[in-house]
């Protein structure tokens, strides 16, 4: 080969390597920062603190309220220790209303207030003046269908159950590309099926308006733990902070706070505490017989297709049993509105980019044995009920679970009950 030709080939190879080089230089590696113990300790105090109006811990603002759902974080996040899940009594009520002009209004109907109490009537004049509707009023629970109240067209009210926060840091540290890899893998696996599929377990990564991938919340509506904590401070306790203003009462939109209740540092302390919570664990049963059952249950979990969505490992996080992707879960499990963040279109609206009413982020199953009740609004009291209620993309595996014999079902449930809060 002549020398000039060789030079050309080398030049071409070099040129081809330029994009690779640039990518290597710009590849973002998110190193996991260890939690500062002092910050976490300060955060623990804030997490357990009973907030009052004009609270001394919030010198610049009005403290608790004007509207709130509870007086402390731990009031809701308490099962299995501080940071755990909550019962039906700590459900949060969310509404979405589509106005006649096509715009939507959404928010939280807060359970309590310092002065101006919110009720369902603020959402729509035809609804009863109830501040804290029981779940049975909103969804036809099995056996209690008659209690459900009819909603005018365009009005959607749903609830959110309190999830456990254990292991939140592991999720926070996950790069978005892990979720996206999961999304691509699921699509490939089902012959490039689009995530609009109502039947195939093909999820999609939740997207925020700014393009980031959401990882927290039932709808995957928050991209980072810090974001969610700031939203929780404002929405649950009425503590305004630099990341999220405190909500004004529904009937009193001009009710203003004198200043911010929390500083950014206080929010960071809270985040540090939540991040310091240990992850849930898989605790094998004591007797060898029960252990074998749980093991058989684990195999069944894969065999009936639960692991399609509840993937055991996600990137570096082992034993999370979730893909953190949004899945369409069918008509029965619809729920509009969003706890915070991006508007969720109401069921009879055109689908947009945001999560659909029937779309839910697969909840991690770690610690599932200690986080009853189940599903986004806690409508399932037991694990078996939760599985039976899987619709949409989960229909097939729920049906396969239903087709198992009693012993096999018990084995699968036995496997799920090995997953305990720390």
């Amino acid at each position: 080969m002549k020398r000039s030709r060789l030079t050309w080939y080398l030049l071409a190879a070099l040129l081809a390597l330029v994009p690779v080089g640039v990518r290597v230089l710009t590849w973002k590696i998110s190193w996991s920062q260890p939690v500062d113990p002092a910050m976490a300790q300060a955060g623990e105090e804030l997490f357990n603190h009973e907030w009052k109006p004009e609270d001394p811990l919030a010198p610049d603002g009005d403290g608790l309220g004007p509207v709130f759902n509870a007086t402390s974080c731990v009031a809701c996040h308490q099962r299995g220790g501080p940071g755990g899940s909550g019962g039906l009594e700590s459900n949060v009520t969310i509404f979405t209303v589509r106005n006649n002009d096509g715009t939507t209004r959404q928010g939280v109907v807060h359970a309590r207030a310092v002065r101006y109490q919110e009720t369902l009537r603020h959402v729509h004049p035809e609804l009863p003046a109830i501040a804290r509707p029981a779940l049975a009023l909103l969804v036809p629970l099995p056996g209690r269908e008659r209690e459900a109240i009819p909603f005018p067209p365009g009005v959607h009210v749903s609830q959110r159950n309190t999830p456990a926060l254990f292991g939140a840091k592991l999720i926070d540290d996950l790069p978005a590309r892990v979720l996206l890899a999961q999304e691509k893998g699921q699509r490939l696996r089902w012959g490039l099926a689009p995530p609009e599929s109502e039947h195939l377990p093909v999820g999609r990564a939740p997207r925020l308006t700014d393009g980031r991938v959401g990882k927290f919340g039932w709808k995957g509506q928050a991209a980072s733990l810090a974001d969610f904590v700031q939203a929780a401070c404002a929405n649950e306790l009425g503590l305004g902070n630099p990341g999220h203003a405190q909500p004004a009462p529904l009937g009193k939109p001009d009710c203003r706070s004198p200043g911010l209740d929390l500083t950014l540092e206080q929010c960071d302390q809270l985040t540090a505490f939540v991040a310091s919570l240990p992850r849930s664990v898989e605790r094998p049963p004591e007797t060898s017989r029960a252990r074998e059952d749980a093991l058989a249950g684990k195999r069944l979990f894969h065999a009936v297709g639960c692991a399609d969505c509840h993937t055991p490992d996600l990137g570096p996080v082992e034993g999370i049993y979730s893909d953190l992707l949004l899945h369409r879960m069918g008509q029965e499990l619809q729920g509009g509105g969003s706890y915070n963040g991006r508007p969720v279109p109401v069921p009879d609206a055109e689908p947009g980019e945001g999560p659909l009413p029937s779309e839910w982020r697969t909840p991690p199953l770690w610690g599932v044995a200690d986080s009853a009740p189940y599903l986004h609004d806690g409508r399932a009291a037991t694990l078996e009920e939760a599985i039976r209620m899987h619709g949409g993309q989960g229909t097939r595996s729920a049906r396969q679970f239903a087709a198992l014999n009693i012993a096999a079902k018990a084995q699968l449930i036995a496997f799920l009950t090995t997953m305990r809060a720390p």
Binding site: M1, R5, A16, P19, V20, V22, R23, T26, P175, A176, R177, L180, A181, K184, G185, R189, W190, G191, L192, A193, P194, S197, H199, L200, H302, A303, V304, G305, A307, R396, Q400
Partner: protein
């Protein structure tokens, strides 16, 4: 008997028989030279115009020459005797025509005299291509095969998605790779066909490609060739590209560029490796050195064409993915896209392999170019000589 136009201009005066039984003719200026039999690939000495010893070969090679010749020969076939058969002193033996040798797997596809005669008679107007665009006609001539293969591929790509995916029960757990297993098997058949296209172009055969009727062994050999060539480098690029695609998150322009490069390189290098192997039919030639040697002999256009093939493959890959995606929404449209994609892909590949093969055939040192000084545009050997004419 009709013969391609081109050969009429240069009379093929020298007639002789290769050791493998092939009847050959050579142009006058080839007298006393050495060349390679297009059928078995053995070196042959072409008799001088006025042989001093009628019916004997050229003087025997020196040991050194012999070694080189053996190295350059097509492979010692799996089933046929070793290099002894390739010794040049048997080549020009005149007399009773030896029985045709067992099929030489390395050459994959070369006509027997019988076939050649029929071939040339059936395709009087189809000399070996001299211009690149003439190669476009080649897949058209093989249209039935291309159509059948493309149709099969489209069905096997679309059917699993249409029939199996909605019935998820079949595909629980880890069974999902079986979804496309029939497709892969069928793809191997297509490899068999394409390998024949390449081999016949490399051997400089005119006329259309014949259906792969030569049996399982030949098919397996072709498949092995394609697999080995894929594993010898392109596989690494493809796997790297796939993993990068899976794990790079949202694709920005840079990622698209990197992925495109990987695909183009993978397909381009695969083509070049296949070509390198097809020169002598030795799987060991699936290495960069052999490719470099080949490019040095045939020219840089080989690289350009292979990379262009890569670009085309990239476009077709995208079309295939779009078709699969569409299949879930509008099955008719998706099916159409898939069929179009496979048809165009197979057509393009056939064309490209024909072109590359003919280039290799004609380049100096290829059996199609006896003498770098004469601008031969036709094989020195015309394989259509009826044996009766020799006597």
């Amino acid at each position: 008997m009709s013969r391609p136009e081109l050969s009429k201009k240069r009379p093929m005066a020298i007639k002789f028989i290769c050791g493998c039984g092939k009847h050959l003719r050579a142009r006058d200026e080839m007298a006393s030279r050495r060349s390679v039999c297009p059928r078995c690939g053995s070196p042959v000495g072409i008799p001088s115009l006025r042989p001093t010893h009628p019916g004997t070969a050229l003087g025997p090679m020196t040991p050194d020459e012999r070694r080189r010749a053996r190295k350059n020969a097509l492979p010692a076939p799996l089933t046929s005797p070793g290099p002894a058969r390739h010794e040049p002193d048997r080549i020009a033996a005149v007399g009773p025509v030896p029985a045709p040798r067992p099929l030489n797997l390395g050459a994959v596809h070369v006509l027997s005299p019988e076939e050649s005669r029929r071939e040339a008679a059936a395709w009087p107007g189809w000399p070996l291509e001299t211009r690149w665009y003439q190669c476009l006609l080649y897949p058209l001539r093989a249209w039935r095969l291309v159509l059948v293969l493309a149709g099969g591929l489209a069905v096997l790509t679309g059917a699993p998605v249409q029939i199996l995916v909605p019935r998820q029960e079949f595909l629980v757990g880890q069974q999902w790779p079986f979804l496309f297993a029939p497709l892969f098997v069928y793809l191997l058949l297509a490899c068999g066909f394409l390998q024949r296209v390449l081999a016949s172009a490399r051997a400089g055969e005119p006329g259309p490609v014949r259906p792969p009727a030569c049996g399982l062994a030949l098919l397996l050999r072709s498949v092995a060739t394609w697999l080995v060539c894929f594993l010898a480098g392109p596989a690494l690029l493809a796997a790297g590209g796939f993993l990068y695609w899976l794990h790079c998150g949202d694709l920005d322009l840079l990622d698209e560029l990197i992925l495109a490069e990987l695909v183009v390189l993978a397909v381009g290098s695969w083509l070049l490796l296949l070509l390198a192997v097809s020169q002598r039919g030795r799987l060991l030639d699936a290495n960069p050195l052999a490719v470099a040697r080949l490019v040095g002999r045939v020219g840089d256009r080989l690289v350009v064409a292979a990379l262009a093939g890569g670009v085309a493959a990239l476009a077709h890959g995208r079309l295939l993915l779009a078709g699969l995606e569409e299949l879930h929404r509008r099955p008719g449209m998706g099916g159409l896209l898939l069929a179009g994609c496979w048809l165009s892909g197979l057509f393009g590949t056939t064309f490209l392999l024909r072109l590359l093969g003919v280039w290799c055939h004609r380049a100096p040192g290829g059996s199609g170019e006896p003498n770098p000084l004469t601008s031969a545009d036709c094989s020195p050997f015309l394989p259509e000589m009826p044996s009766s004419r020799l006597q």
